[in-house]
């Protein structure tokens, strides 16, 4: 293949035109990502001085050990896991139902999807305030609704550990179920009709057709949707920051949120760096998974 380089790939100064145009982006990206990345790894091994004049002290893995002894950190992973699993499950099920319905629409499909996708454009901070207002225990309309329907026994939603987590999840579901629905809808549109016809001729009932034909054809789309949502839930802490600030009694203090506390409330930089590095490690592993799936998708199924 190498000899067959076309006119497009002639080299100048050892780098093709394509190398030259890629260069600025790579350099800038390296400056703003790789340098901070190594900064973080190095600092995670230090006890970092806050006051000027003091010197950083090399402490080996003390920051990491301290993290695992910190029950808030360990619990943070559990809370994060609960947040992720419940949100994803609800968004997936509702999103799938919505996608199936949207797939049936004809003329009205455009206007309906346009209305439905509005929440995705809204700043997470704004979503936090919208729901903080709706869940307010003295004048929030959703609080009033839940009370009136007899679903809420306690006095306050955001003041109760279980309900507070539920409120955060509800806000997330409100904002991101449309995203899941639209991704799944795109997948549904690519389910080959001839396979469906064939299954129908074999006399397979709708449920069987769903599990035998529709689902297998949508695997890649489902994986992509779930992974992107997973990473975004790890990435954002805005709604928690607005609605509960991790409370009540740490009930919504996810591991991502707790990092914010460590770094910008306690200003413990060494530990924040260690914390951040572990969080990043988990996300990178997931990202690798995402890219693998995406490459497979490009080669085969979804296109």
């Amino acid at each position: 293949m190498e000899q067959k380089l076309s006119v497009l790939h002639r080299r100048k100064y050892g780098l093709s035109f394509y190398g030259w145009v890629l260069m600025p982006a790579v350099i800038l990206l390296a400056l703003i990502t790789i340098y901070p990345f190594f900064w973080m790894i190095v600092k995670s091994l230090f006890h970092v001085a806050i006051r000027p004049g003091q010197k950083d002290e090399f402490v080996w893995f003390a920051n990491y050990i301290a993290l695992f002894k910190d029950s808030l950190f360990v619990h943070g992973w559990l809370i994060q896991a609960r947040f992720v699993v419940i949100s994803l499950a609800v968004e997936f099920v509702l999103g799938f139902a919505l996608a199936l319905i949207l797939n049936n629409l004809k003329r009205s499909a455009n206007i309906v999807t346009t209305i439905i996708l509005i929440p995705m454009m809204i700043a997470p901070v704004a979503v936090g305030f919208l729901y903080m207002y709706l869940f307010n225990s003295s004048f929030g309309w959703y609080h009033w609704f839940l009370k009136s329907a007899g679903l809420l026994s306690g006095g306050s939603i955001l003041g109760d550990p279980t309900w507070a987590m539920a409120a955060i999840i509800i806000a997330d579901v409100w904002e991101w179920t449309p995203f899941m629905a639209l991704i799944l809808l795109a997948g549904l549109k690519k389910v080959p009709l001839d396979q469906l016809e064939a299954a129908k001729c074999d006399g397979a009932p709708p449920i069987k057709r769903f599990f035998d034909v529709v689902l297998p054809n949508m695997t890649s789309v489902i994986v992509i949707g779930v992974l992107i949502r997973f990473m975004d839930i790890m990435r954002y802490i805005d709604t928690i920051l607005i609605m509960t600030t991790g409370g009540p009694a740490g009930a919504t203090k996810t591991v991502s949120y707790y990092l914010f506390d460590v770094a910008f409330r306690f200003f413990d930089i060494g530990r924040g760096a260690a914390h951040g590095f572990l969080l990043l490690l988990v996300t990178i592993i997931i990202a690798q998974l995402f890219v693998n799936v995406m490459n497979k998708t490009k080669k085969g199924l979804a296109r």
Binding site: K4, S6, V7, L8, H9, S16, F17, Y18, G19, V21, L22, M23, P24, A25, L28, L29, I32, T33, P36, W39, L100, I101, N104, K106, I115, L117, I118, I122, V125, A126, F129, Y131, Y133, W141, W144, S148, W174, F179, L182, V191, L196, R209, I228, R235, I237, L241, I242, S256, L259, F260, A263, G276, L279, L280, I284, I286, A287, Q288, F290, V291
Partner: protein
Amino acid sequence: MSGDTVTVAPKRATPPAAPKKKKQPVQMQETILHKRTPVGKIVTWVVLAIWIVWTLAPLVITGLASIKTTREAFATPEYGDWGGVTKIFEFSPTSVHFKRLFTQEGFGSYIWHGLVASVGSALIAVIMGTLGAYGLSRGKFRREGDISFWIISTRMAPAVVVIVPLYYIFRSFGMLSTLPGLIVAYTTFNLSFSLWLIKGFFDDLPIEIEEAAHVDGDSHWAVFRKVAVPLAAPGIVAAFVLCVLFSWNDFLFAAVIGGHRAKTVPVGITELRTTVEVLWGPINSATIILIIPMIALGILIRKYLIQGLTMGAVRE
């Protein structure tokens, strides 16, 4: 190098001559799983109606609250008094909260900061992203897979993780609390995003058009500028709009890096919640100011929204 034989080697595995796959016909008599029945239609519309109400209710309630007096906005009926729901619509409109935002709270400059930071960062991201995407899409590199993975992984890092080192690095360079600092901070997530998204659009272009232009004697740069960029324009526009949207909506970077002198609208809103009181009237109107332009932008690029938000992995 000497013999400039024009070998037009098809670069991509798929034969570009094949016409683009058309959308599957929608005029099926049956849906994917079941026959269209009147009952099914009713169920469909009931579910959709519930979902639309659930989607719009928070926006309508907050939108109305933003033009109510505080007393009206806080008036909920007794628990169980379902007829009292109409109270939501009982008010005389006032613009006092919006006025307060601009006269007392400085939202005029917050909006300006948000605009400069998001448009500035989106411009950098899209210009460098378009160049880089073209290079990555057309060029052949050693370890291309690793470069791609590195680029996409920078986008997936949790925002808090990126902010911790950036804060301390920016502090030593005196870039905290400045608009340029904020622009650079936003570029950390916008650049990799736009590069990856635009690359998908370049990948989709049939390479023959560019090769033909080369044969006609155009330079690489001319082909890029006159052929490739115009053809990928929708993707470039979509990337630009989404970059603006991400930056305008961002809170963490603005709060930590933007500091006191480069406050944006999301930061401004959180300051309306003081330790003494929560100014719900101004908060609700500021929320409306924050979200309306982005909803408009999102609808504008509706066609590319899913492709954009999945970084090209899923197309509608």
